[in-house]
């Protein structure tokens, strides 16, 4: 059985296999960016909500609408006493902390 024979007998499998290999290659090439990607929505929401609420001093309801994006978030905790905002989404969790009058908010490591 040679390669040509396999391609002729199984054209769809060949195509799928090639697509799978291309996909895996792309995943490998973009592995760093792909691994970081799910953090974006929770980190963005936590950081920009913290700044909206505790730097710009806007109301909580407004800040919720302000940070809304097309990706959903699952858990949202605004610890007003400590000015600390924790958000989960896409299986990741991130929090932002208000630091000081001059330094505003920062994402926690």
């Amino acid at each position: 059985m040679n390669r040509r024979g396999f391609v002729r007998r199984r054209p769809f499998s060949t195509l799928l296999l090639m697509l799978l290999i291309a996909l895996l290659g792309w995943v490998w090439q973009e592995r760093v960016a792909l691994w970081a990607f799910p953090d974006i929505i929770s980190a963005y929401t936590a950081k920009e909500y913290c700044s909206c609420r505790y730097v710009m001093n806007n109301e909580a309801g407004y800040c919720h609408r302000y940070v809304k994006q097309w990706l959903p978030t699952s858990r949202f905790v605004d610890d007003a006493a400590n000015k600390r905002v924790t958000v989960s989404g896409m299986g990741r969790s991130n929090s932002a902390q208000w630091i000081s009058e001059r330094q505003g908010c920062r994402l926690n490591p």
């Binding site: 960016a33 970081a36 505003g104 490591p109």
Partner: protein
């Protein structure tokens, strides 16, 4: 002859009587405009605000300074005169102004290699401070925000892989062009400037430097500038000022770096800010890049980016519609804050209408 002389004396007296206006603790209020030209402007800037779809023009603040006096101010949405509003990339122009103060102290030269002040840039030894100011480091940076989140360098820098040390994240990028040869707008370049400033002024002065060098001399009392985990100011994105306070920086720039009788910012620094980057090619961006400021200049035969505004107009511009326009020839500074989530807002349209409403009437 004698009549002519006395006329000159009277003119001189008149000139001193109309001394320059400068803001004290508050801006003094100038002549208030009204009439159809103002209505035309307000119709454009303050349409009914759509908070459900977030479509269209959504202005948070519009403030106009003419001849050093506040002549117009209006707020919308949650923003008030006391709101330190996020400026996004206006921060870049603010960092350039802060750097200019260090330049005035003779602490660096424009052609100094960045690595002198920020050792991780030894990977890119040819990059100078002037290159960073021109957004011409040659680093392979991707500046998309929402539309290409996977490939976006700026999203990774602010929220994921880069947020703890934004300058180091930037320095880790590969080169796509020789330093100083090509324009590519980059928030990373701006944050390298912030990291370099730390050693330019020294780590002891750095945490207070924007306040001691710029904000306090201008009477700005409520500026916020967020940092990354290394304590470096996020020069690309995270300065917050009230519209009234941001306009003070605009007035400083409109008057070539002079604040009352002090030349706070060297004139040649402001000239550098306002000089088009030589290797910029027409239509690479919405306006022409100078030294971390945007210019309304015609380049390579292409028209001015904002045809209805004077050629000396320059601006600090940020994401979601933040803008400060400085028009020295009209003695105007215009601050516009917004929360635009689409591309409806047009700089030229605002400038055209604002100039009709606020430009000095030519005396007969």
């Amino acid at each position: 002859m004698f009549k002519g002389l006395s006329l000159i004396v009277m003119l001189l007296l008149g000139f001193t009587a109309h001394a320059e206006n400068w803001p004290a603790e508050q801006w003094s209020i100038g002549p208030i405009s009204s009439g159809p030209a103002l209505q035309t402007l307000e119709t454009y800037v303050f349409p009914p605000r759509d908070d459900t779809t977030r479509k269209g023009i959504r202005t948070d603040a519009l403030l106009v300074i003419r001849d050093g006096q506040l002549i117009y101010e209006r707020y919308a949405g949650p923003t008030t005169a006391d709101t330190p509003h996020l400026t996004w990339s206006i921060s870049k122009s603010l960092m350039a102004t802060v750097l200019g103060m260090a330049y005035g102290e003779g602490l660096f030269k424009l052609q100094d290699p960045v690595q002198t002040f920020y050792p991780p840039m030894q990977k890119h030894p040819g990059v100078t401070l002037a290159d960073l100011l021109h957004w011409a480091s040659g680093l392979d940076w991707q500046e998309d925000y929402e539309y290409a989140p996977l490939k976006s360098s700026v999203v990774a820098m602010l929220y994921t892989r880069g947020h703890q040390d934004m300058a180091a994240f930037t320095a880790d990028h590969a080169e796509y062009a020789k330093p100083g040869q090509a324009f590519r707008y980059s928030s990373g370049d701006s944050n390298l400037l912030s990291a370099a400033l730390k050693n330019i002024v020294g780590p002891a002065r750095y945490p207070d430097f924007p306040w001691s060098a710029l904000f306090e001399p201008l009477g700005i009392r409520h500026a916020v500038w967020e940092t990354d985990a290394t304590g470096a100011f996020v020069a690309s994105s995270y300065a917050y000022l009230t519209a009234r306070d941001l306009a003070r920086v605009g007035l400083l720039m409109a008057r070539d770096g002079r604040w009352q009788d002090r030349q706070l910012l060297p004139k040649d620094w402001v000239a550098f800010n306002r000089e088009p980057f030589a290797h910029y090619q027409a239509h690479q961006d919405d306006a022409v890049p100078g030294g971390q400021w945007w210019l309304n200049r015609a380049v390579e035969g292409a028209a001015q980016p904002w045809p209805d505004a004077p050629a000396d107009t320059f601006a600090a511009l940020g994401h979601w519609g933040q803008a400060m326009y400085v028009i020295p020839s009209e003695h105007l500074v215009i601050v516009r804050y917004g929360d635009d989530r689409d591309g409806s807002y047009q700089h030229n349209e605002l400038l055209k209408r604002a100039l009709k409403a606020f430009a000095q009437q030519v005396l007969p």
